[in-house]
Amino acid sequence: MNTFIAIEPDRCIGCGTCLAACSHGHRVAGLQAEPRLALTFAPQVTAAVTCHQCEGAPCLAVCPVDAIMRTDEAVVVNEQACIGCKLCAIVCPFGAIHPAGTSTAGVAGIAFETPSQPRGTSPLLAWSIGVYTCAVKCDLCSTYDPEGGPHCVRACPTNALFVRDATTLGDARKDKMKAAATANQIMMGRSTNLKEA
């Protein structure tokens, strides 16, 4: 099955340590420094939105140059092959893929950007002079640190992020079924003196 990263929103404090770890890891590996996950703040929920590494990945299906491929670990983008067409970003149902590029204005701290559009412009339409963009998406850090596992999961100070793979999902399902069974028993008006194992 596909392995992906899930979040427990009640643990998320919106601090962005996941973004920092993602950016640092990829940048040091020579990949785009743009974080692969995004923090989303709704009135009642704060959560990092991550790629689900879908079984039937639409991003992979629509890529016209086969720059997106499935490896044993994840659905990954070949940044060199990507032509920045943004089709993958349009079809992603989670908003988990978007274009990014490295600005030449940022070299050696002499940044002087010349914005051409308001910041509110959709990232799919935004461009900046001389910057070639390519798609960035979560690779579970498998392209540069397969042993270490996803850096965001490791870095999260409240342990709000989890790797969901066949084992952990199976366990989670069992826990949910147990909880449902207990709730059912309570609903039926039965009480129990049994302590939790």
Binding site: I13, C15, L19, A20, S23, F41, P43, F112, P118, A155
Partner: protein, 728 residues
């Protein structure tokens, strides 16, 4: 690759980490098992290391001493000898002409550590002969230090950060740990998972509000009214602990005379909340087995900051929610070593170890230890940091020695502060970066950075921990304490320390509460939480056990005050309340984090003004638009974030931005009891900008111009001094 143990330099949590060094460059950081962080780090700890390498992303590091021979002239790189001689001569002239009290100094609560600060205050008191030394606590938790010393005796957290997770109830009042101290927020998440009840009282629905059992959205500026009513409920509903009050407090009857007038109904309008919610909160707090109140700048940067701290302390006492491991007071400190600055006597009325300058016995002890004649140490408390603007205007302060702070960024009303700094006869800035303040200095001393020196920090919960150098000093940077001792020696009071341990041992000898905190005890991930009076004592995580307060008769003093509205209320011209808050990924004036690759990429100029969608719509402002924010003090460009989590009628700006600079808008009005500015409340208006592309380019142009100006100010350091060149 080498690993060097350090303590994170970014907030008061005191997280232990290793700096990873390769080929003389710091290339990473990893959490280690410190008492507070248990191996975890937030984004600043994890990614906030590369400023040491002089990345020049925001502003260059200062690597050589420079002076401005004439006021308004160009900076010129000189040898250390010349820079120190020049400074010693100028300071001596000012001291002779206007007296020692014409010189004001500020300590650094950031990277330098306790030893450097101790030597600086020794230089101030023993060599210059003034108590004009303060630190940035004045702008942040000063009211907590003062308010707690007035009531319970010690100006610090009474509980430890690790014990927060075992409390039965945590109430956060004007404190957003997720942004200020993610590693403390982590303890609150854990407390919740262990079954603690959480109450959040704040105008913003902060992250913790989402997991709170009770969230009360209050209006800005109503703190004292709310807390008085909260106290009123505890006593009216008979939830106070009469035996504890009788045995361990003074002044209950007088306290109640004021508090009894504040029924929840009487404050409902001022607070903008349901009176029953106040009752519910008070019941939860008073009846839980162990409750902690945590507060932050939402309490202290207000007109009545000290008075609210008095009331919070009184509430904890009357409800007997103090003096136990999981019950007490938690004013969590902002800067990594702001507790340390206060510990080291960077305070106009306190010698190191909270020993009052007004006490002749204390002065005599220090005079003896420092080889001074009897009566040499000044007895009068000195100026506060916030006295600087009027002190200079009135001609009382002539010279200012700025150590590792950037008042032009962090103090209110920047235009007024700039005039203040320009009107000084002598401005000395000892820093690691060319900040906006350093760019105005007549003398620029390059100190070593965190990561280049050893020392001890005090975490927010009174925990002393050691940090070590990872890389050698860059350029001609000297350790801060070396600079002070060389200057002091030139000015007639010789000091000759060999290393930080020698300094620390002097601190231990002079401060009974710190005596047991030896370097040996603090080796590795070791720590010592004061009071730690003996070598055997492992430290004291909890203050006031068994109701023993640190006052003269061991009893807490209950103090109550009447509520007064904030100074500058919104009106037709400026209808919105401006409240300044913190950026989670940046720190203080941003000179450090702004020079880190990851942190500067995740959040950069001009920052955001958070505005309720209803207020934005009324002004035709869309999310991510650049906007003008104006007040009676100034006007800045920033970016709008439409935020449903904040109250209508108020906007929030983080104080880290140099272009979107909220301190161009705030006003220099202070709480008279502490001198702390009312940063959480002033009036402003937000205006839309029609041409967004122009606005984006204008903002970039302002930002580039600022960076260029600072780089140009630092550039003379690249030219070796003529004298040295000819000697070679």
């Amino acid at each position: 690759m080498e690993k060097h143990m350090a303590v994170c330099p970014y907030c008061g949590a005191g997280c232990k980490l290793n700096l990873l060094v390769d080929d003389g460059m710091v290339i990473g950081a990893e959490g280690i098992d410190g008492v507070t962080n248990e191996g975890e780090l937030c984004l600043k700890g994890l990614s906030g290391f590369d400023f040491i390498n002089d990345t020049k992303i925001l502003t260059p590091r200062i690597l050589h001493p420079m002076i401005r021979r004439e006021k308004g002239g160009e900076l010129e790189r000189v040898t250390w000898d010349e820079a120190l001689d020049f400074t010693a001569q100028r300071l001596t002239e000012i001291k002779e002409k206007y007296g020692p009290d014409a010189i004001m100094l500020t300590g650094s609560s950031r990277g330098p550590g306790n030893e450097a600060n101790f030597v600086m205050q020794k230089f101030t008191r023993a060599c210059i002969g003034t108590n004009n030394i303060d630190n940035c606590a004045r702008t942040c938790h000063g009211p907590s230090v003062i308010g707690l010393m007035d009531t319970v005796g010690s100006g610090a957290m009474s509980v430890s950060i690790p014990n927060l997770e075992n409390a039965d109830l945590i109430m956060l009042f004007g404190y957003n740990p997720s942004a200020s101290h993610p590693i403390v927020a982590r303890r609150i998440v854990k407390a919740k998972e262990k079954g603690a009840k959480i109450i959040v009282v704040d105008p913003r629905s902060i992250e913790t509000a989402r997991i709170a059992d009770l969230y009360i959205q209050i209006k800005n500026g109503c703190n004292l009214a709310f807390m008085n009513a909260f106290a009123n409920v505890i006593v009216s509903e008979n939830m106070h602990d009469k035996a504890f009050i009788d045995a361990h407090t003074n002044g209950f009857d007088a306290w109640w005379e004021t508090i009894k007038n504040y029924t929840p109904e009487s404050v409902a309008e001022v607070c903008g909340c349901d009176p029953d919610d106040i009752r519910k909160a008070a019941r939860m707090y008073a009846t839980a087995p162990n409750s902690v109140i945590g507060w932050g700048m939402g309490v202290t940067q207000q007109r009545q900051g000290v008075k609210v701290v008095h009331t919070i302390a009184a509430i904890a006492c009357v409800a007997n929610q103090i003096g136990r491991d999981n019950a007490g007071l938690a004013p969590v400190r902002g800067q990594n070593n702001v507790q340390g600055s206060c510990d080291m006597g960077m305070w106009p009325s306190l010698l190191p170890g909270y020993q009052k300058v007004e006490n002749p016995e204390m002065r005599a002890k220090f005079e003896k230890a420092w080889g001074l004649p009897a009566g040499a140490l000044p007895a009068e408390p000195g100026f506060k940091l916030t006295d600087l603007p009027h002190g200079v205007k009135e001609g009382k302060i002539r010279a200012f020695y700025n150590f590792g702070e950037d008042p032009l960024q962090t103090e209110p009303d920047s235009a007024d502060m700039k005039e203040t700094l320009e009107n000084l006869d002598l401005l000395i800035s000892q820093d690691i970066f060319m900040t906006q303040t350093t760019a105005l200095a007549d003398v620029v001393f390059p100190g070593t950075s965190w990561g280049e020196h050893d020392g001890v920090f005090s975490a927010s919960d009174r925990t002393f921990q050691r940090f070590t150098a990872a890389v050698p000093p860059k350029g001609e940077c000297k350790h801060d304490w070396q600079i002070f001792q060389e200057l002091s020696t030139r000015m007639g009071y010789p000091m000759h320390y060999e290393d930080t341990e020698e300094i620390w041992n002097e601190v231990r000898e002079l401060c009974p509460n710190f005596y047991g905190a030896t370097y040996e005890k603090m080796a590795g991930t070791g720590h010592a939480q004061w009071p730690v009076p003996t070598l055997e004592c492992p430290g004291t995580p909890t203050l006031y056990k068994n109701g023993q307060f640190n006052t003269a008769d061991k009893k807490a003093i209950l103090m109550a005050h009447d509520f007064v509205e904030p100074t500058e209320l919104p009106d037709d011209a400026y209808p919105l309340v401006l409240c300044t808050v913190r950026e989670v990924g940046h720190y203080s004036c941003r000179s450090m984090t702004g020079n880190c690759k990851v942190l500067s990429m995740l959040a950069d100029e001009p920052g955001y003004v958070h505005i309720n969608p209803a207020d934005a719509e009324a002004r035709n402002i869309r999310d991510e638009d650049l906007v003008w924010v104006s007040s009676r003090r100034g006007k800045v460009i920033t970016r709008a974030c439409l935020d449903e989590r904040i109250n209508k009628g108020a906007v929030y700006m983080t104080y880290q931005w140099w272009i979107g600079k909220c301190n161009d808008l705030t006003m220099h009005v202070t709480d008279p009891l502490s001198g702390t500015p009312e940063d959480k409340y002033s009036a402003c208006e937000v205006h839309s900008i029609d041409d967004q592309v122009w606005a984006e380019r204008h903002m970039q142009a302002l930002y580039s111009a600022l960076k260029d100006r600072l780089a140009a100010e630092a550039a003379p350091q690249n030219v070796a001094p003529a004298a040295e060149a000819s000697a070679e």
